[in-house]
Amino acid sequence: MKEQDFEAKNLPEWRKYDATMEILEKGDVSAVDISKVPAQVRSRCLDLSLARHRLYGSRMCEYLNFQVTRGHNLVAKTEGGVREKMVHFFVAGFPQAMRREWRLLVICWLFFLVPFFGMWLSYDHDQEWVHSLLGEAERESMDEWYGKDSTGSMRDEFGSNFAMFGHYINNNIGIDLLIIAGGALAGVGSLFILLSNGLQMGAAMAYVMNEGSPERLLSFVSGHAPYELLGMIVAGMAGMRIGLALIKPGQLSRGKALMESGKLGLPLIMGACALTFIAAIIEGFWSAEQNPPELKYWVGYIGWFLLAVYFIFVGRNNQSRRIVIKK
């Protein structure tokens, strides 16, 4: 069959298909008989293969290629419901990913805790390190907030809780995402940010414990610390997952390993955001409230306990395992 005859024969069909696609791409599903659409897409596939095989001009091939592509995009959808995915993530995906990546969990905790305690303990021997790391301005604001003589509420102004909530969302989740993205620099970025956070927090801890009022600091941080610290660590794990694809791709090519790391890292990335979001809520609306310190400490202990239970036990039964296999 000649090119012109082929085009003349099929043109009415193509025009109809084109119109159907335009309606569907606008999202108007009711206006067309969608049960016929897959068959229509398949017949465009047939047209395209015929046109290619018979060496029809590239204009026609390009046109049919376009029609097949847009049809395929409409028909082949892989997404499930968002709510279903969220539930699966919290009851299975996230805790399972944490258990699978326990080695990274240990490494990331070490990269945070060693500098943290190192800095804290260094204060007994040499105060220079802590002082120089914190700097003059930082020490003054520490004295103001957590000093021996500071009293009263931390946030007096109306709406300041909400302002701080906004700040924690913007800043803390931002840091988590920075840690994750830093993983793409062969993991160096993630570990560096964990390390520098460890040093900074260790220095602040040492300074307040020795020169200020430990109770003010600890009762403030205890409530949100479990979620915020673990959120940061999980972000580090996600970053390292991506970084390890470059350093140690194993049997895969580096490109393939990077793709895989994206898939493996996704639950960790989402988990880090979720944990830090919880931390921001607590830090914004609970931590600065004036409650007895013992109550605040207990909120912290319970937080750590709940997280441990969640990551050790949730998602272990057969039901949730089957969900994973089905995927």
Binding site: E3, E25, G27, V41, R42, C45, L48, S49, R52, H53, L55, G57, S58, R59, E62, Y63, N65, F66, V68, T69, R70, H72, N73, A76, K77, T78, E79, V82, E157, F158, G159, S160, F162, A163, M164, F165, G166, H167, I169, N170, N171, I173, G174, L177, L178, I180, A181, A184, L185, I242, A245, G255, L258, M259, S261, G262, G265, L266, I269, M270
Partner: protein
């Protein structure tokens, strides 16, 4: 020409669908993508400006609530704008749509929400060098790494694309000019031609009328081994063989 060489030369990505047909995706290069990005940045900056003005008017009494709103909006615009639009039905931000681009999976499917999330978190790495900072309310960076990564990968992928396994492609087919078909007598080739060679000849035939005569001869001279002639005569023989192939199919 061996198939591999054709794939190296071509920026199109071939994907075989479940229906057994191969589709070609036209990959977009760094330049249109940069323009799309610039457009999106301007839109984000515009939204931030409007939010700042509204918040300024509403919270004249206490600046604290306004500050909180400002920070949260800034966060969601910086991190959520691209993800929201790219995970959507059209797979493209407003800027990408304006330039006729969209983000797809390497398999030609729409991307999942997870892929959109990953490629846009890693935007931060592509922004290097020059520390991306949220100081201005939104993220700003030089995109030097993303640019070089695009140039050094076959499919113009930045780091975020590599990890999320995504491509940025044109949504519309390439505009093909057509002219008069050349008037030559068909001529049987003296040797059997491979499939790719037949395709190349057919392409030559259908595009020949768009080129000057000198250009047509320049190209046909590359096939002088097949036509056994150079110059004008070679060109006519090549077109004749192309016509013969097209007629036979």
């Amino acid at each position: 020409m061996p198939r591999n060489d054709i794939e190296v030369l071509d920026t199109r990505q071939s994907v075989e669908l479940g229906e057994g047909v191969e589709i070609h995706l036209r990959i977009a290069g760094p330049f249109p993508r940069a323009l799309a990005l610039l457009l999106d940045m301007l839109i984000i900056a515009g939204i931030m400006l409007v939010v700042t003005i509204i918040v300024g008017i509403i919270s004249t009494g206490s600046g604290m609530v306004g500050q909180g709103v400002f920070l949260i909006v800034g966060f969601f615009l910086s991190w959520g704008y691209f993800t929201y639009f790219e995970a959507g039905k059209r797979g493209a931000t407003i800027g990408k749509r304006a330039l006729g681009l969209r983000v797809i999976d390497r398999s030609g499917n729409n991307i999942t929400k997870g892929q959109a999330f990953i490629r846009n978190i890693l935007r931060l790495v592509d922004m290097l060098p020059g520390m991306p900072s949220t100081a201005a309310g939104v993220l700003i960076g030089s995109f030097g790494l993303g640019f070089f990564c695009c140039l050094f990968t076959k499919k113009f992928q930045r780091v975020g694309d590599l990890v999320a396994n995504t491509l940025v492609v044109y949504t519309q087919p390439e505009l093909m000019m057509t002219g008069q078909e050349p008037t030559v007598d068909s001529l049987a080739p003296t040797v059997a031609l491979a499939r790719e060679e037949q395709v190349a000849l057919a392409d030559y035939y259908s595009r020949a009328s768009m080129w000057s005569e000198a250009r047509r001869i320049e190209l046909s001279d590359h096939a002088s081994e097949l036509t056994q002639k150079r110059g004008m005569e070679g060109m006519i023989r090549l077109l004749g063989m192309a016509k013969w192939i097209k007629e036979k199919k």
